[in-house]
């Protein structure tokens, strides 16, 4: 049993920045760093987040520091909100450090529809969106893919969906990696994973996944808001989902492969859920290609949901009502990126497990239209609180490998959330706040209640104070559509 990290082990190194020194445990290869304030630290006192963060710092080839974003909470292996960069040359890739829901992420669509023009229509809109998006557990979509078609999705992601007549070129332009990781290889994805994914394209899944209609409430950065087409009082649509059963199976398959090979590679881990492979090994490369394929599936999924939302939207508001993709960003992913380590540019495999890429202005990987303002960083709050649109910064690139938080971060278990609030009561509370809810399961609604999460304002304050990202806009929920 490894030594557990206590709050008293944290060393404050700057405002809202705490460190677990490398000397804390013999097996730590680098220090571990947490961006948080006192309230956030209190929220994680009772769980194992900090010990999980220390465990990440033991991975072979980890560079500089193991990081936790302010929405940190206990996961399995990595803490949620974890970021780690491993050397491409002699480091590892860890499926558990990316997560079972590969390329779980957020897509945001903007509109010109004013909230005041929709008071009598929001119920119809919520129902139309609920009907067009199969969102329950194990729900298949309307699109059934042949083996050949699925392979094309895995290879080309959202681009293949555009070729099939769903969505448009702009959706690809305003998507991380243009909705397609080029190192994908469908042959590295098992038949089992493909079977699980064959009918799941266009579906949200359950748990914390959602589709929301939101209202832009406040603008903090006029230039960036203009670039992102965000205006106070306008409706936007936020989609949160991932790679469904296909991605879950890819991760399961490769954790199994790697667990078996750990002794041969001489890798000792404090937690087998951190199972990993040398990045340059056959197994490491096979997983990297399979993960990219699953990431492409997730982008195709959010792309198709976006296209289906557009159809429902235009059925309500008319054919001229346009929904533009502002951006689509992954928050469970592994990517090879160049970062400055000890003053030298180095290729690393950045693991983001519940963390969002947040690249600054002028970065070559962000769209031309956003070059002056930076990459949109999409941070959902909860079904009853604000969400935020941020932009990446140079400081973030230096201190967090260009990463930010991915949400508010849970603070209560699902059981505890249900003890504190009942589904029907929560439904009434939300509706009293002007939030329309479409969710078949009261239990699932209660499990995802705002009280189960940290205060989003607090999390965003830490992100901004540390300089990981800058505020652009705050949006509030208007219609919440969930699975279950």
């Amino acid at each position: 049993m490894k030594k557990e990290v206590k709050v008293s082990d944290l060393v404050k190194i700057d405002e809202n920045t705490y460190e677990i020194p490398k000397s804390f445990r013999e097996d730590m290869k680098v220090p571990a760093r947490l961006f948080a304030n006192k309230e956030i630290i209190e929220d994680i006192l009772t769980d194992k987040s900090l010990s999980q963060l220390a465990n990440v710092s033991t991975l072979p080839g980890i560079q500089k520091v193991a990081l936790a974003m302010p929405d940190i909470h206990q996961g399995y292996g990595f803490p949620i909100g974890g970021v780690a960069a491993m050397s491409v040359e002699d480091g590892v890739i860890s499926p558990g450090g990316i997560g079972y829901d590969i390329n779980c992420g957020i897509r945001l669509l903007s509109s010109d529809i004013k909230v005041e023009d929709t008071k009598n229509i929001i119920e119809d809109l919520a129902t139309a969106l609920f009907n067009v998006i199969p969102s329950g557990v194990g729900q298949g979509g309307k699109l059934k893919l042949s083996v050949d078609e699925l392979d094309k999705v895995l290879l080309n992601g959202a681009k293949y969906m555009v070729e099939q007549g769903y969505g448009n070129q702009d959706d690809l332009e305003f998507c991380e990696s243009n909705g397609c990781l080029k190192n994908a290889n469908p042959e590295m994805v098992s038949e089992r994973a493909k079977k699980r994914g064959a009918d799941q394209l266009g579906t949200l899944g359950s748990g914390n996944h959602f589709l929301e209609v939101q209202v832009v409430e406040e603008i903090f950065d006029e230039a960036a808001a203009k670039a992102f087409d965000l205006k106070v009082g306008n409706l936007v649509v936020m989609i949160h989902c991932g790679s469904r059963g296909l991605g879950h199976q890819v991760c399961t398959d490769y954790v199994k492969v790697m667990v078996k090979k750990l002794p041969e590679w001489g890798i000792k881990l404090p937690d087998r859920e951190l199972a990993c492979a040398p990045f340059k090994s056959q197994e490491g490369q096979d997983y990297f290609s399979a993960m990219a394929s699953a990431a492409n599936f997730a982008w195709a999924n959010r792309h198709l949901i976006g296209a289906n939302v557009r159809t429902a939207w235009q059925n309500i508001f008319g054919k001229d009502a346009i929904l533009k993709t502002v951006y689509d960003v992954a928050h469970n992913i592994g990517k090879v990126e160049a970062h400055k380590i000890d003053g030298v540019n180095m290729e690393v495999v950045v693991h983001r497990k519940g963390a969002t890429r947040a690249f600054p202005p002028h970065h070559p990987e962000i769209p031309h239209a956003y070059q002056q303002v930076g990459q949109p960083v999409l941070i959902p709050g909860t079904m009853g609180t604000s969400s935020y649109i941020l932009t990446g910064t140079e400081k973030g690139l230096e201190v967090s490998f260009g990463s930010s938080c991915h949400g508010a971060g849970r603070r209560l278990s699902r059981t505890e959330a249900k003890r504190k609030v009942q589904g029907p009561e929560l439904r009434k509370q939300l509706e009293a706040k002007g939030i329309t809810v479409r969710c078949d399961s009261n239990a699932e609604l209660a499990e995802e209640a705002p009280i189960a999460y940290k205060d989003i304002e607090n999390v965003i304050d830490v992100v901004v104070s540390v300089g990981l990202a800058k505020k652009v806009a705050r949006v509030r929920p208007y219609a919440v559509i969930k699975g279950g």
Binding site: G75, G138, S206, S413, E447
Partner: protein, 135 residues
């Protein structure tokens, strides 16, 4: 008395399972995994699947056995209610798992069975394990 209990976990589902021997522990873990997410059964015939799993050790065997059931559940829209274990060692299991068709799960879908905090041990003559499911 139930032969499993829910353990608090911030984000995921964690259960503690009991059994009078290792075989029963595995069977109870399978039954518990589906019970906690409340399958919504629909009319349809019982479906049986023969599973054979080999793993490096008993913890890996439990993860792999439950992962196998999870895959079969997701790919066939069924939930498993029971298992007959035919052969069992610490590194291999041969079993028939028995399920019924479902519409959905009432609670949430389990994405995966994890190794996190997993240990299998005997305490006062009772075999027990704790398992974290990613949801």
């Amino acid at each position: 008395m139930e032969n499993f209990e829910l353990i608090p976990h911030t984000a995921d589902l964690k259960i503690k399972v009991f059994g009078k021997n290792k075989q029963e522990l595995f069977r109870n873990a399978l039954i518990a995994m589906f019970k906690i997410i409340k399958p919504e059964y629909i009319e349809g015939e019982e479906k049986k699947f023969d599973v054979m799993v080999d793993s490096p050790d008993i913890e890996a065997l439990l993860v792999d056995f439950l992962s196998e059931a999870l895959y079969l559940s997701d790919a066939n829209s069924i939930a498993f209610k029971d298992a007959q274990i035919h052969e069992f060692t610490d590194k291999s299991i041969v079993a028939t798992i028995i399920g019924f068709p479902i519409k959905s799960f009432e609670v949430v879908e389990i994405k995966a069975v994890t190794y996190h905090d997993l240990s299998i041990k005997e305490v006062n003559g009772v075999w027990q394990t704790e398992i974290v499911f990613d949801i």
